[in-house]
């Protein structure tokens, strides 16, 4: 459905780099772009939306040329691309009510109301955006992105500012819309559980290039060989307790303590990124809270 081969020179925080991407995307795929910040994920979404130019290459969607630097025609404007775009900061128009935000994109009140109903916000249709919570704002923005039934839905870390419960609710909404309208969805995300739940394909970006293109399991599970568990974390502190060296490591917002031997204690420094893995033990799993 989408065929592209693009190049663009970027000047990021880590200096100059080249965004180079060659991709084939099928209709109905749910693609998640992940990778360290500054690797070109957002720029790629913006290029697809027509908000950013490219240096060379082409983008074709359903055989229609959106941009091709080899012919001299100008790129298809964002207005003409029939896409939905969810911004990190929601980008709701502050001067319009919830319903007006939707009908501004497409003047179809019935459909707007049914979208709001799908995400449980029909009662807030006359509310102004400033009175909504972050989660409500993003759901309104999602409905606005969907109202023109876009062929491609682009999501730029849409849930990063929300708390865990709200994230879960929105993940379900995004999934619902993706399936209901059979859109092709491309989302930037850092959250492994989100990637795992939603994606059908994950692209790992580094320095402007795709370094892995596979399913979520392959990209995310970091165990190798006979390891049962493997986590990456940041070393926060090394201290001595009697004759033992103890390392405090932060893994996904939780702190763990690990005993080090003396040679490791000398080798490691606070701030290092470390892998903690183990082979021979049987973990127990118990329920803490209902889903």
């Amino acid at each position: 459905m989408i065929k592209l081969n693009i190049e663009k020179e970027l000047f990021g925080s880590s200096g100059q780099m080249n965004l180079e991407m060659k991709l084939d995307i099928k209709q109905g795929e749910f693609i998640v772009l992940t990778g360290v910040s500054g690797s070109g994920k957002t720029t790629f979404l913006r290029i697809l939306a027509g908000l950013e130019k490219i240096d060379s290459g082409f983008i074709k969607v359903n055989e229609k040329v959106w941009i091709d630097t080899s012919n001299n025609k100008s790129a298809l404007l964002p207005q003409k691309r029939n896409i939905g775009y969810l911004f990190q900061d929601y980008a709701l128009f502050p001067n319009m009510s919830v319903l007006k935000n939707l009908t501004f994109a497409k003047n179809d009140k019935t459909f707007a109301l049914s979208l709001l109903e799908l995400v449980g916000l029909e009662e807030l249709k006359d509310t102004m955006p400033s009175q909504l919570s972050g989660g409500q704002k993003q759901r309104v923005a999602l409905c606005r992105a969907m109202i023109s039934k876009p062929q491609i839905l682009l999501l730029d870390e849409p849930l990063s500012a929300l708390d865990l419960d709200m994230r879960k609710k929105l993940q379900e909404d995004i999934k619902l819309f993706h399936e209901e309208f059979n859109t092709t969805t491309i989302m930037v995300s850092h959250d492994p559980s989100e990637i795992y739940k939603l994606s059908s394909r994950v692209l790992l970006l580094d320095n402007g290039k795709i370094i892995k293109d596979a399913c979520a399991k392959e990209v995310l599970l970091k165990t190798s060989g006979s390891q049962k568990f493997s986590f990456e974390g940041e070393l926060l502190e090394i201290y001595q307790a009697d004759i033992l060296n103890i390392a405090v490591v932060s893994i996904a917002n939780q702190l763990v303590k690990v005993v080090l031997d003396s040679s490791q204690a000398q080798e490691l420094q606070v701030g290092d990124i470390v892998t903690i893995s183990t082979k021979a033990f049987a973990p127990t799993i118990s329920k803490k809270r209902n889903s």
Partner: protein
Amino acid sequence: MFDLDFEPFLVSFKLAFYTTSILFVLCVPFAWYLSQTKSKIKPALEALTALPIVLPPTVIGFYILFALSVNSPIGIFFEETFGIKLVFNFTSLVIASCFYSLPFMVQPLQAAIQNMPKSLIEASYICGKNNFQTIWYVILPNIKPAVVTAVVTTFAHTIGEFGVVLMVGGSIPGETKVASIAIYEFVELLDYESAHIYSFFMISISFAVLFCVYYFNYKQRAKYD
């Protein structure tokens, strides 16, 4: 005091109304262009726009007089094609005022558009709207305090003009004799009483106008906080 001639005030307000209307229509697209462009001529355009703030009004007045006079190409063109003179009449006052008050309209609008989140403009594009629709439905309603500041200060600044008006308008009663000129003439004639009344009027009107702007902006800010 009621037999006082209020015509100069009417001329002042008429001039301010025309100037503000013309500048608003021209400056919204211009401020939009300045806020969006990455062109190298942007600093030059900004400097030109700001010139009337630093230049003595007589300089602007002198060049406008020079450019529009009956001996200049522009003056000759208008005289021959439309049969109108461009100096020492109300039209010339409006043209001169538009130059003189330009920064007061452009600068607040440009600053406000630049401070708007870029994503709002982009969201409007993705909603299928062109530049005109984006300016009208998204930008102007969301920079209301700046629009009010720009319109009102342009209006007030035009009312307060003196040097430029003196240079290009002369002092033709009912045509180019504005309030500020009238005060100057009263003082020259040692008619201090009339000068006092006119001046007091000017101060009252100016204060009321500025107070309204600041009060409106204060209220607007309170609404969003």
